[in-house]
C-alpha cells in the first residue's frame, strides 16, 4: 500500500505504545474465541432433546405417612382417577424424572457373569402407559402390555424379563444395526436376562452431565414406595390449568399422604441447566466488556497520538494532503497494529484452548471460530479509530503555521 512503509517507520518510533495495543488485541482475541467456544458448547448441550413432550407434562411427589394406606390399591385408584380427568392425556407412576439430577442407573452386559464388560444405563420404572405419558416415540418393536407390569416390593432385586431401550443405547449395544436389538437379550444385575421388546427414539437420563445421558431403558414395574412420583401428560396447552386440578383431586381423595413438589418438566429443564445458563451469561458479559475496554483503549491512545501530532498533520494538510488521506493514515496504522495483535492472539487462543482442554476436559476449538474472532477484532479496531481519525482529518492546515 501507499504509505505502509512510512506508517511503519513512524510506528517504530513509538514501539511500546503500539505493542501495548497489539498485546491487548491479542489477549482479547484469545479470551473472546475461547469464551464464545464455551458458550457454543453449552448451548449445544442444552439443545439436545430430552425425548419428552416437555411443554405438556408435569409431575408430583406422593408421600405416604399413614399406617393404613394400601399402596397397591391406591396407586390404581389414583392413576385411574387422573387418567379419566378431562384434559389429561395419560399418567404413570415413575421412579425418576429425566434431567432432574436424581435417578437410578444399572450396569448391563451381553453375557451373564461377574467379570464381563458392562455398560451403564438410566432406568425408568413405568407401566404400559409409559410411552404415551412421557410422550416418547416408539420407533421399533412394541410397548409393554398390562400383563407385563409387575409389582416391585422395595428392596427387591428381581428384574422383569422385558425392557424398552433408547435408540442411542441400542446403537451402542449393537453398533452394526440398532434395529437388530429387537428380541435380543442382555443381562441385568450380572445374571438376570432381559429381552429388548422395543426401541424408542430418545429419552434422556436424569443426569445432564453424564456421558451416557442418551442411554436409558424402561422397565415394567409398579413400585411399593412411600415416596413415589406421578408423571402426567395433558392435552396441548392445558398443563397450567390442569396442575392445580390434579393436585386438589389427589390431596382430597386420600388424607394419609401429602402431594408435594408439583412441577413442570420445563422448570426441571431450567433448573437442570441453570448453571449452564448462568455461566453463559457471565461469559457473554466478559466478551462484551473486554471488547469495549479494548475499543476504548484504542480510541484513547489514538486521540492522544493525534493531539501530539497536530503540527505534523497540519503540515501534511498544508502540503496538499486531502482529509481522506489523513484519515486513511490512521486507519492503516490501526490495521498494522491489529495485524500484529491478531497474529499473536490466534496463537494465544489456541494455547489457551489447549490449556482448557487439558485442565477442564473441553474439546478443541475450530479454525472458523478463530477466523471469526480475527475479523471481529479488525472491525472493532477500525470502528474505534474512526472517530479519532475523523478528528485528525478536521485539523485545519493553518495550525501548522501557527506555533512554529
Amino acid at each position: 500500500m501507499l504509505e505502509t512503509g512510512l506508517i511503519f517507520r513512524a510506528l517504530m518510533r513509538n514501539k511500546i505504545g503500539a505493542l501495548l495495543i497489539a498485546l491487548q488485541i491479542a489477549l482479547t482475541l484469545a479470551i473472546m474465541v475461547n469464551a464464545i467456544f464455551m458458550i457454543q458448547d453449552r448451548n449445544q448441550q442444552m439443545s439436545r432433546a430430552s425425548g419428552l413432550d416437555e411443554a405438556n407434562t408435569f409431575y408430583l411427589t406422593n408421600t405416604i405417612f399413614g399406617d393404613n394406606y394400601n399402596k397397591q390399591v391406591n396407586l390404581q385408584t389414583d392413576l385411574h382417577a387422573i387418567r379419566n380427568t378431562p384434559g389429561i392425556v395419560d399418567a404413570i407412576q415413575i421412579n425418576a424424572i429425566p434431567l432432574s439430577g436424581g435417578g437410578w442407573s444399572m450396569s448391563l452386559q451381553h453375557e451373564p457373569g461377574d467379570d464381563k464388560d458392562t455398560i451403564g444405563s438410566a432406568l425408568y420404572m413405568v407401566d404400559e402407559h409409559g410411552i404415551n405419558s412421557l410422550g416418547v416415540e416408539l420407533i421399533a418393536g412394541q410397548n409393554f402390555t398390562a400383563q407385563d407390569i409387575q409389582w416391585r416390593e422395595s428392596g427387591s432385586t428381581k428384574w422383569p424379563p422385558k425392557t424398552i431401550i433408547t435408540q442411542a443405547f441400542a446403537e451402542q449395544l449393537y453398533p452394526d444395526n440398532w434395529r437388530s436389538a429387537i428380541g435380543k437379550t442382555f443381562y441385568i444385575s450380572q445374571t438376570q436376562p432381559m429381552q429388548i421388546i422395543g426401541v424408542m427414539k430418545a429419552l434422556q437420563a436424569p443426569w445432564n452431565g453424564w456421558s451416557g445421558v442418551e442411554r436409558s431403558m424402561l422397565v415394567p414395574f409398579h413400585m411399593d414406595s412411600k415416596n413415589s412420583r406421578y408423571f402426567i401428560r395433558t392435552e396441548p396447552g392445558r398443563r397450567d390449568e390442569m396442575m392445580p386440578i390434579i393436585e386438589k383431586l389427589l390431596a382430597e381423595s386420600n388424607k394419609e399422604r401429602i402431594i408435594r413438589r408439583v412441577s413442570t418438566v420445563e422448570e426441571t429443564r431450567q433448573r437442570s441447566y441453570q448453571r449452564h445458563n448462568a455461566t453463559n451469561k457471565i461469559l457473554m458479559t466478559v466478551i462484551i466488556t473486554l471488547t469495549l475496554i479494548t475499543g476504548f483503549g484504542i480510541v484513547g491512545l489514538a486521540i492522544f497520538s493525534i493531539n501530539r501530532r497536530t503540527k505534523q498533520i497540519g503540515t501534511r494538510r498544508a502540503l496538499g494532503a486531502t482529509q481522506w488521506q489523513i484519515m486513511r493514515y490512521f486507519m492503516m496504522e490501526n490495521l498494522l497494529i491489529s495485524t500484529v495483535g491478531v497474529v499473536i492472539g490466534s496463537i494465544g487462543a489456541v494455547a489457551l484452548n489447549y490449556w482448557l482442554v487439558k485442565t477442564f476436559n473441553l474439546s478443541p476449538i475450530s479454525v472458523e471460530l478463530v477466523l471469526f474472532g480475527v475479523i471481529a477484532l479488525f472491525v472493532v479496531g477500525q470502528l474505534a479509530v474512526l472517530y479519532p481519525a475523523r478528528r485528525a482529518a478536521m485539523i485545519p492546515p493553518a495550525t501548522a503555521t501557527r506555533t512554529i
Binding site: 511500546i16 505504545g17 501495548l20 495495543i21 498485546l23 491487548q24 489477549l27 482479547t28 484469545a30 479470551i31 469464551a35 464455551m38 408421600t63 405417612f65 399413614g66 399406617d67 461377574d114 467379570d115 458392562t118 416390593e153 428392596g155 427387591s156 432385586t157 428381581k158 444385575s189 450380572q190 445374571t191 412411600k226 415416596n227 401429602i258 408435594r260 441453570q274 448453571r275 445458563n277 448462568a278 455461566t279 451469561k281 457471565i282 461469559l283 466478559v286 466488556t289 473486554l290 475496554i293 479494548t294 476504548f296 483503549g297 484513547g300 491512545l301 486521540i303 492522544f304 497520538s305 493531539n307 501530539r308 489457551l352 482448557l356 485442565t359 477442564f360
Partner: protein, 436 residues
C-alpha cells in the same frame, strides 16, 4: 510535600479527565471481575471449621469390586458399607466417632389443622454434635446409650422448632415422625457450615438438616434413609439383605487429637480390613484413607470447575485492563514532556518527578479499586441471581476481600505506572525547552 504531590496529581487527572476516566473504568472493571471470581473461589474453598479441621478425619475403606475399581482406582469409595461403619462404631478406637446417613421424614403435628411437615433429616451418632461443634439453644445431644438402645429421640433445628413450637423450649415434648413418637432432647441454633463439609456426597453447598435422629433407627426402619447409594455386588431381597450388602451409603468420621492417635487408628483400620479379608471381603489391595476436613474437600473437588475457569478468565481480563492502563498512562505522561522539561530545568530531581508520577498512578489505582469494589458487589449480586440456590451465601464480600480489592488495585496500577513514569523521567529538558 506529599499533599502537594496529591494536589498536582489531582490537577493533572482533572485536566485529562477523559483519559483518567477511561483508566479508572478499565481498572475498576478488571478489579471488579477479578474480585467477583476470587470471592466465589475463596468462599467455596473456605475452611468451615478452622479450629478443628486438622483433628477431624473422614474414613475411607476400599471395599469395592476387585475387577472394576471405584473412581477408576484413583480414590477408594466415597462412602462406607453399613457393615463396616457399624463395626468401626462398635470398636470405638477413636476419641470420637460418628456414623451418619441422610434421612428423610414426615412430621405429623398433633394439631390436625396444621399440615404435615416434610423434613430433611440426618441419622447420626451422638458424637456428631460434639465433633462438629453444633451449637444448642435448648437441651443437648442424646446419650450414647440412646444410640445403642435405639431410643426414639430427636434434635430439632431452630427453624423446625420455630414452626412446630413457636420457638419455645420444646425439650421433653414428643412429636410424631413417620408414624412413631419421638421425644425431643435438644434444639440447635441456626447452623450452616459452608461448605457443608460433614456430608458432601449430596451437595457440598446444601442446607443443613431440619432434624437429627440416632443412626441406629435406620436399621429398625423407624426412619427412612435418603442420599446416595452405590452398589457393585448384587444382594438378596429385603432390607436386612440390603444392610448386609456391599452397597455404600453411610459416612464415617473420627476425631483424633494427635498424629500418634492418627497413626494408631490407621493401624487399627488396616488390621480390621485384613481381618475382613478372611471372610472373603475387601479383595482389592489395602487402600484405607484418613483425610482431614481440608484434604477431604480438596479430594472431592468442592471448588467447581466453573469457578476455577472463571477465575482464570478474570485474571486475563485484569491483564488486558492493565495493558490498557499502561498504554494510557504512557500516552499521558509523554504528553507532559514539555512540563517535565520545564520542571527539571527549574531544579526538580528525577527522584521527585518519579515520586510524583507514581502518586498520580496510585490515585488512579485507588479510584479504580473503589469502583472495582462496587462492581464486584454488583457482580456477586448478579452471580447469586443467576446461579440461584447453588451460590446462596457464597457471594458476599467480607472485609478481607475488600482490603484485597483495594490493595490489588493499587499494586496493579503502581506496576502499570512504573514504565510510563520511567519514560517520563528520561525526558531531556534541553530538547523540550527548545521546542517551546
Amino acid at each position: 510535600m506529599f499533599n502537594y504531590y496529591i494536589k498536582i496529581a489531582w490537577i493533572s487527572i482533572l485536566r485529562h479527565w477523559g483519559l483518567s476516566l477511561l483508566m479508572v473504568c478499565a481498572i475498576g472493571l478488571g478489579i471488579g471481575a477479578t474480585m467477583t471470581t476470587i470471592t466465589v473461589n475463596y468462599l467455596m474453598s473456605a475452611n468451615p471449621i478452622p479450629h478443628k479441621s486438622e483433628q477431624l478425619y473422614y474414613v475411607q475403606l476400599d471395599s469395592w469390586d476387585v475387577n472394576d475399581p471405584f473412581d477408576e482406582g484413583q480414590n477408594p469409595p466415597d462412602q462406607m458399607t453399613y457393615t463396616d461403619s457399624t463395626n468401626l462404631m462398635k470398636a470405638k478406637k477413636a476419641f470420637r466417632q460418628n456414623v451418619q446417613a441422610q434421612a428423610f421424614a414426615v412430621i405429623e403435628p398433633s394439631d390436625p389443622d396444621i399440615l404435615p411437615l416434610i423434613v430433611d433429616g440426618r441419622a447420626n451418632s451422638t458424637d456428631f454434635f460434639a465433633m462438629f461443634d453444633v451449637p444448642f439453644i435448648y437441651g443437648g445431644a442424646w446419650s450414647a446409650s440412646a444410640d445403642e438402645n435405639k431410643e426414639q429421640v430427636v434434635v430439632l433445628n431452630k427453624e423446625t422448632n420455630d414452626k412446630l413450637f413457636g420457638g419455645e423450649n420444646s425439650v421433653g415434648q414428643s412429636i410424631k415422625i413417620d408414624g412413631n413418637m419421638f421425644s425431643i432432647v435438644g434444639v440447635i441454633d441456626h447452623w450452616q457450615p459452608k461448605p457443608r463439609f460433614y456430608d458432601i456426597t449430596t451437595g457440598a453447598f446444601n442446607e443443613s438438616e431440619d432434624i437429627f435422629v440416632p443412626f441406629s433407627l435406620i436399621a429398625e426402619e423407624k426412619i427412612g434413609r435418603s442420599g446416595n447409594t452405590n452398589c457393585w455386588k448384587p444382594s438378596g431381597d429385603g432390607f436386612q439383605a440390603f444392610l448386609n450388602s456391599e452397597c455404600i451409603w453411610t459416612q464415617f468420621w473420627v476425631e483424633l487429637k494427635t498424629p500418634q492417635e492418627k497413626q494408631s487408628y490407621m493401624t487399627f483400620l488396616n488390621a480390621y480390613v485384613e481381618e475382613q479379608k478372611q471372610y472373603g471381603r475387601f479383595e482389592r489391595p489395602l487402600d484405607n484413607r484418613l483425610n482431614t476436613v481440608t484434604e477431604w474437600l480438596e479430594v472431592q473437588e468442592v471448588v467447581a470447575d466453573d469457578a476455577k475457569m472463571m477465575l482464570a478468565m478474570a485474571l486475563m481480563f485484569l491483564i488486558v485492563c492493565l495493558l490498557n492502563t499502561v498504554g494510557l498512562l504512557l500516552a499521558k505522561f509523554l504528553g507532559k514532556a514539555p512540563e517535565i522539561g520545564l520542571r527539571q530545568a527549574l531544579g526538580a530531581s528525577k527522584s521527585t518527578l518519579f515520586y510524583q508520577y507514581m502518586i498520580e498512578s496510585a490515585c488512579i489505582g485507588l479510584a479504580g479499586g473503589l469502583l472495582g469494589l462496587f462492581l464486584a458487589y454488583l457482580g456477586l449480586q448478579g452471580i447469586e441471581a443467576l446461579y440461584g440456590e447453588y451460590m446462596q451465601g457464597l457471594a458476599t464480600l467480607d472485609l478481607n476481600m475488600m482490603v484485597l480489592a483495594v490493595t490489588l488495585s493499587l499494586l496493579a496500577t503502581l506496576i502499570a505506572g512504573i514504565y510510563p513514569t520511567w519514560r517520563a523521567c528520561k525526558v531531556q529538558p534541553a530538547h523540550q525547552l527548545k521546542c517551546q
